[in-house]
Structures are given as C-alpha cells and as structure tokens.
C-alpha cells in the first residue's frame, strides 16, 4: 500500500500549492477558486457531475475497447503481410501528423452530436499507440524461436498464433496503458467541439457562465476517473497479458 500513501501525499502537496497560489495572488474566486470551494462544488453538484461523467466514461470505454480491437488486428495484419506494411505504414505515419483537434469538427459533422463522434475521437487518438507498440513487439520475436518453428514444419499463420502473438502481448499491454490515458483526451475534445452531454460539455458550459468552481470540479472528476481507468487497465495487463513475458 506504499503506492497509495505516496499518491495521497502527492495530492495533498498539490492542494497545498494550489491553496498557496490562491493566498499569494489574491485572485478572485471566479478566476482561481480555492480548493475548498471546488470540493464543496463537487459534493453539491455530485448528481450533475455523475450524470455527465457516465456519458464521458461510456465514450472512453467504448473507444478504448474498439481501439484495442482495431489496433490489435491492424498490428497483426501489418506484421503478417509485407505488402500491407508497404501500403499502410506510410499512411499511418502520415495520419499522425494531422492534429486530432482538426478532425473533431468533421467527425461531429459525419457522426452527429451524440456518442458516435466522441467514440470515434477516442478511438482515433489511441489507435496509433496501440497498433504501433503491438506491431513493434510482433516484429521483435526471437528469431531462434521462429527457426525452431520452421524446422518443426509450422505454417506462418500458426507461428503467428502460437509464437508471435503471445510473445508480443507485453507490447500490446504497454500500448493499452498509454491508451487508457489518451482515450479520455479524445472524448473530451469531441465533447468540446459539439455535444450536449459529458464532462467536456460541462466544462465549456461552466466556463461560459463564469462558474469556474464547477469547471474545476469537472476537471478533477475527469482526472480521477482517468487515473482509476489507468489503474484498472494496468491491473488487467498485469493479470493477463504481461504473464507471457516471464
């Protein structure tokens, strides 16, 4: 439980710095609300925050799931076929040079104001890290294992399934860990560009009405949910995927 204690200490330190800034600068509370006010707002607006958090987290979880599946399949496809690598990899790299922010309006136009466009944003933002870290791991299979498999008379598909994929699962796991942190960013960007629900929407709304305390409240809820999601994904990876690396 040492990790917990360090986390609590670190949070306390952050709050102390925050309170210190409030005292030192003397900024009005609609610009920089003090921590106590923000926690009060979190408690007072818990129903509202929960309602919007559920929306954001559904976008994040569905995006994460789809991104993991699509990214995983893409990595396997790329690793299996030199042709696919030649055709698709430059395109993938190119796609990374496009700022995701720029895609949000068009996704909203195509997929509407609902969950769809936010899920797509989350998916797009995590697709590359998942694909790329899994792909790299798939290409790094111990060549002696592959030689042994060839001597045994294995087919490429069987080698992929029984050797390359299991040995690359820790790489897939590190992609998923990154994805757990990135996916909420995607969903929030999507909500900023066009939505009527979700923590991102709530932040914009609160900001527009100078309810800075509510804006901070939504931000803190989002941060806590992201940390919990990362911890859960981490646990899942340790329990399942990382075991192959022993």
């Amino acid at each position: 439980m040492k990790g917990w204690r360090a986390g609590v200490a670190s949070a306390a330190f952050g709050i102390a710095v925050w309170q210190g800034l409030v005292w030192a600068t003397g900024l009005p509370k609609f610009i920089l609300p003090p921590p106590a006010l923000v926690f009060e707002t979190i408690w007072a607006s818990r129903a509202l925050l929960a309602e919007h958090a559920v929306i954001t987290m559904s976008e994040v979880l569905i995006g994460l799931l789809l991104g993991a599946v699509l990214g995983g399949l893409s990595a396997i496809g790329l690793a299996a076929s030199p042709m696919a690598r030649a055709l698709v990899r430059p395109m993938l790299l190119f796609s990374q040079s496009i700022p995701v922010f720029a895609l949000a309006p068009i996704l909203t136009l195509w997929l509407g104001f609902g969950l769809g466009s936010k899920i797509a944003m989350a998916l797009i933002i995590i697709y590359f890290p998942v694909t790329s870290s899994f792909f790299d791991a798939l290409m790094r299979t111990n060549p002696d294992w592959l030689g042994q498999a060839r001597i045994m008379g294995a087919t490429p598909a069987r080698i992929m399934w029984h050797i390359r994929i299991p040995s690359a699962l820790p790489g897939f796991a590190s992609g998923l860990r990154l994805a757990a942190v990135y996916a909420p960013i995607g969903a929030i960007i999507g909500e900023w560009v066009g939505s009527s629900k979700g923590l991102g929407y709530l932040m914009l709304l609160a900001n527009g009405r100078a309810k800075t305390d509510l804006m901070f409240a939504a931000l803190i809820v989002l941060a806590i949910l992201t940390i919990l999601l990362h911890a859960a994904v981490n646990k899942f990876c340790e329990k399942t995927l990382d075991r192959t690396a022993m």
Partner: protein, 239 residues
C-alpha cells in the same frame, strides 16, 4: 525409423563473407558425429544448412540426406533451450503438433517428459525450472518430434559439470540409432559421445581417433581421458 546418412560438399557464403570453403563432410547413419573447431569456423552454418534454415546462406555445392529430402526429418536442439516462457513444460513439448495444426498427443507428451525425469514438473513453466531441467524439456521436445536426424548445437555447454554429464548420458540413451550431428567446444563431451570425431578448421576437416567402448563412455575411462587430452592438444595446434 531408418536414420539416413548426411553429406555436405562445397562452400558457403553469407553475403561477401566466405563461411567455409571446399568442405567435404559425411555424417554416418544412426551414429553420433561430433564436430569440433574454433569459433567462427562455420560449424553452426553446417547445422543451419541441414536444418533448412538457409536464408542468407549461399551454398556452392550440395548437401542432403542419403535417402532423399531433409525437410520434416530434422530436429534441432541448441544451447538456448528455446522454450516458450508462457507455456508449461508439457505444452512446450507439444508445440510442434500445434504448429503443424495436428492434434497434440498428450499421453505421449507426458511419457516423453517422464523419460527425461520430469514426471513431476509437466505443469511448470520454464521460469520455474532450473537450467538443467529446461534442457531436459528441450530434449523431450526433440524426442516428441521423433525425427531420424538430430542436430545438436552445443546443447549442454551452459550447464554445470554434473548436470552436463547426466544430460550427455540421457541424450546418448534416448537418441540411440538416430543420426546425430553434435557441434561442441568440449573435448570431454566429444570423447564421451562421438562414434566419430571431426575437427573443422579453415583448411578443412580432420578425423580424430575415437576411444573404444559404447556411447556414452565412462567419464573416467583411461582411453576417454587420453582422447580428451589429445583432442585438446590438437585444437590448440589448430588455433
């Protein structure tokens, strides 16, 4: 299973680098041939050719089995056990069948593991086994493959002296009647296991007299010790 003889005649290159030139090696059917020589003289390349891992190797000449194709008739056991760390000992032994899309024969897998003395360890993963036990699993996997030709690439060199001696005896017993080509750096190993002992140098191959007695020969037999000392001296001169 009638084990074939092997032959290799010619030169090999990897890119512009000549690995060996004008080699003329014949490996006796159903017996152990030990191949010794300095590092970098091309012993492992010889094994890779017989194993069919010929990618990047250009061969000028011919090699193969006395009665036809090599493919599907060779097993390889190397210094690294090459066990898959996420599979149990039993699943590692059965991996060949899985890779060929055949139904794994669990009963035989268990039998084979029992024959190498690992009856109580079949469910353990490689990480839970000692180096010697892992090499036993690799030997069991080799037996499971049941190939007439067995290529051994310094399989016991990473083991401690006692475990190595035990593994040599076990391998000699279990690989009886197969055509075995053993690459080794260890003169004592060659003196114990070789029906034929060959030293490989840049100038070609040289046969070395073999001690009397059945394989595996006793470690302390006087002619085994003598052969071991002679071999060491010869290797020293060749260096």
């Amino acid at each position: 299973m009638a084990a074939p003889a092997l032959h290799l005649k010619g030169s090999a290159r990897i890119g512009d680098q000549i690995i060996f030139a004008d080699l003329d090696l014949s490996v006796q059917a159903g017996a152990w041939t030990c191949l010794l020589g300095a590092s970098g003289v091309g012993k492992s390349t010889v094994l890779r050719l017989f194993a069919g891992l010929t990618k990047d190797i250009d061969v000028d000449g011919s090699y193969g089995a006395s009665d036809g194709a090599l493919e599907g008739r060779v097993a390889l056991m190397a210094q690294d056990d090459l066990l898959l760390p996420w599979l149990s000992a039993l699943d590692n032994v059965l991996i060949g069948a899985r890779l060929r899309a055949q139904r794994p024969d669990w009963t035989r897998g268990e039998d084979v593991l029992a024959r190498v003395g690992l009856r109580d360890h079949i469910a353990k993963r490689p990480g839970e086994l000692s180096g010697g036990q892992r090499q036993r699993v690799a030997l069991a996997r080799t037996l499971m493959e049941d190939r007439p030709i067995v290529l051994l690439d310094e399989p016991f060199s990473a083991l401690d002296a006692l475990t190595r001696a035990q593994m040599q005896e076990l391998a000699a017993e279990l690989l009886l009647d197969r055509t075995v080509l053993l690459v080794t750096h260890d003169p004592a190993e060659a003196a114990r296991l070789g029906h034929r002992i060959v030293i490989m140098t840049d100038a070609g191959l040289q046969d070395v007299p073999v001690p009397t007695g059945n394989v595996p020969r006793a470690v302390d037999a006087s002619d085994v010790l003598k052969a071991q000392a002679d071999l060491l001296n010869q290797l020293r001169i060749k260096q």
